[in-house]
């Protein structure tokens, strides 16, 4: 029995899904060059203290990574609909390994998406020290945990037809409100943004200012979303499979 073989084919499947490859890599990459390149000399975007190339790099990377994480939900929904989940229940693959593989593939796809965007950022002149890159990446990976839970949750709740639009909508909403597309620095919108996990994905870019990146609020927000969405994912999973 080999779970690495299982994982390998799972990855192969994932990267063959054109729709999600586009959402996680192609689309943010193109947007980045379209939006950030003309503003590459803007050194304090919307009062964030971050240059446009860095801000948009982090923002679009967050967008791609959120899509990558939620794509694991789309695969779960597809497998349920095909009756494949039932077939897998007749194999020695444990439900735990099944979910772990799904989340891991989501993460690997997200990491590739981040790497692509960071490479693009370097092309537009983003310069960070090795430690800063590392801290930023770690923060983003932590900030993606709630999205892994959300993906599993939606995958068990929705049909294949519904899951695509639902995920597109969810990511769009989190992106706009969380400041992924453009900075939200003031007023009620800013207050809303700070309680969203997507906001903190973008805030990870603040390591470039020498800060730790996240305030205590950031950690709290991510923890709260993780707890809530993990509970929702567990409930959805149980309702769907009749397991405890």
């Amino acid at each position: 029995m080999s779970s690495t073989t299982y994982m390998r084919y799972e990855l192969l499947r994932t990267f063959r899904q054109r729709r999600f490859v586009l959402l996680a890599f192609g689309f943010p990459l193109v947007l980045y060059f379209v939006v950030a390149a003309p503003n590459r000399n803007e050194h304090d975007l919307g009062g964030t203290g971050l240059g446009a190339p860095l801000y948009f790099m982090v923002g679009y990377a967050a967008f791609g990574a959120m899509n990558a994480m939620l794509s694991c939900g789309a695969r779960i929904a597809g497998e349920r609909q095909a009756g494949w989940t039932r077939q897998l229940r007749l194999t020695p693959l444990s439900p735990r390994t099944y979910l772990r593989t799904k989340v891991l593939t989501g993460y690997l796809m997200a990491i590739c998406s981040l790497a692509t965007m960071y490479a693009a950022g370097s092309i537009l002149g983003v310069r960070l020290g090795a430690g800063e890159w590392l801290r930023m990446i770690v923060l983003v990976l932590v900030g993606l945990v709630p999205f892994a839970a959300l993906g599993v949750c939606l995958g068990h709740l929705l049909t294949t037809d519904a899951v695509g639009p639902a995920m597109g909508g969810t990511v769009a909403l989190f992106s706009i409100l969380g400041g992924t597309w453009f900075p939200v620095q003031h007023g009620a919108l800013h207050d809303i943004a700070t309680v969203l996990p997507s906001y903190w994905l973008v805030q990870a870019g603040h390591v470039a200012l020498g800060g730790k990146g996240w305030t205590a609020t950031g950690w709290l927000v991510i923890a709260a979303w993780t707890a809530a969405l993990a509970a929702a994912a567990t409930a959805a999973y149980r309702r769907d499979t009749g397991r405890t």
Binding site: Y9, E10, L12, R13, R16, A82, L90, T91, P92
Partner: protein, 294 residues
């Protein structure tokens, strides 16, 4: 070691009593057909054998274990009645992924050869026809190399040729000492490929025995003909006729040997018209059997 043991197994869905207390024991190495018309409770029974459904009452053991444990050990390979394949992998890749989950899988190339899917082995699963999908699903059950194979109406979506190839492969698998339990509503399949037939109707086991015995019970043919004014007793005395019934001007003869019955009928009653010969139909035979029991 016992292959599959079902004791007083019961399952209802709301008001529908799908399985009403069945007892079946299957030895390891046996090939057993679960034969019955649609709605007999075959799939419900197999789903309980596989641990997909929890029985309302009664017990299931698979290779002396609870179903979930037998499954977790990789001792069970299955082909469910419904279900398609996940997309974006080739047939060969999907088989390799499935094989990776089992402790002693069959070689992927051997499985491909065995099930005759060499031509489509490099095709993506979403590009297969219904019949091809069915063959790949069979290959997925085989690549597990599990001791117990459970197949729920495996040939339903297959054409005649695939069906023939399928059973040839099954013979080969059975000869390797595997225990095989398959559901079907084709009497011919049960008769030709099983060591034993368990006949189900309306959630009960109505007969359990060697195929020849079951075939004699349900395999009879009927003759229908327009033949007024002939007393039924005379028709029942014709060679090959087991039972005669009148429906207005028409008579219905249930036959033990329809060939002899037709010859005799034509010879003695040349005025007979509208002659029709048909299989009794499993449904009809089952209903008679269950009625006889009630």
């Amino acid at each position: 070691m016992s292959g599959v043991a079902l004791r007083e197994l019961t399952k209802s869905f709301g008001a529908v009593q799908a399985v009403r207390g069945i007892d079946v024991s299957i030895e390891t190495g046996e090939t057993v057909a679960l034969l019955g018309p649609n709605g007999a409770g075959k799939s419900t029974t197999l789903d309980m054998v596989l641990g997909l459904l929890r029985p309302d009452a009664g017990t299931v053991s698979v290779l002396d274990l609870p179903p979930a444990d037998a499954v977790a050990r990789g001792s069970v390979g299955a082909m469910l009645q419904t279900g398609s394949l996940v997309r974006d992998l080739t047939v060969r890749e999907l088989l390799a992924q499935m094989a990776s989950l089992y402790p002693h899988p069959l070689d992927v190339d051997e499985t491909i050869a065995l099930t005759g899917i060499g031509e489509i082995s490099d095709r993506r699963t979403q590009k297969l026809s219904g019949g091809q999908t069915q063959r790949v699903r069979f290959a997925l059950a085989l690549v597990t190399n599990a001791e117990l194979l459970v197949l729920d109406e495996p040939t339903v979506a297959m054409d005649v040729e695939s069906r023939h190839a399928f059973w040839t492969t099954m013979r080969d698998i059975a000869s390797r000492g595997k225990t095989i339990l398959f559901a079907t509503h084709y009497l011919e399949e049960a008769d030709a490929y099983a060591d034993r037939v368990v006949l189900m109707a309306q959630g009960r086991v109505v007969a359990d025995g060697p195929p020849t015995e079951i075939k004699a019970m349900v395999g009879s043919r009927t003759i229908r003909a327009t033949l007024p004014d002939v007393p039924l007793e005379r028709l029942e005395r014709l060679p090959g006729v087991a039972h005669a019934e009148r429906r207005g001007e028409a008579v219905v003869l249930r036959c033990s040997d329809s060939d002899r019955a037709v010859r005799a009928l034509l010879a003695r009653h040349p005025e007979v018209r509208d002659l029709e010969i048909g299989g009794a139909g499993l449904e009809e035979a089952f209903l008679q059997l269950t009625a006889a029991r009630a």
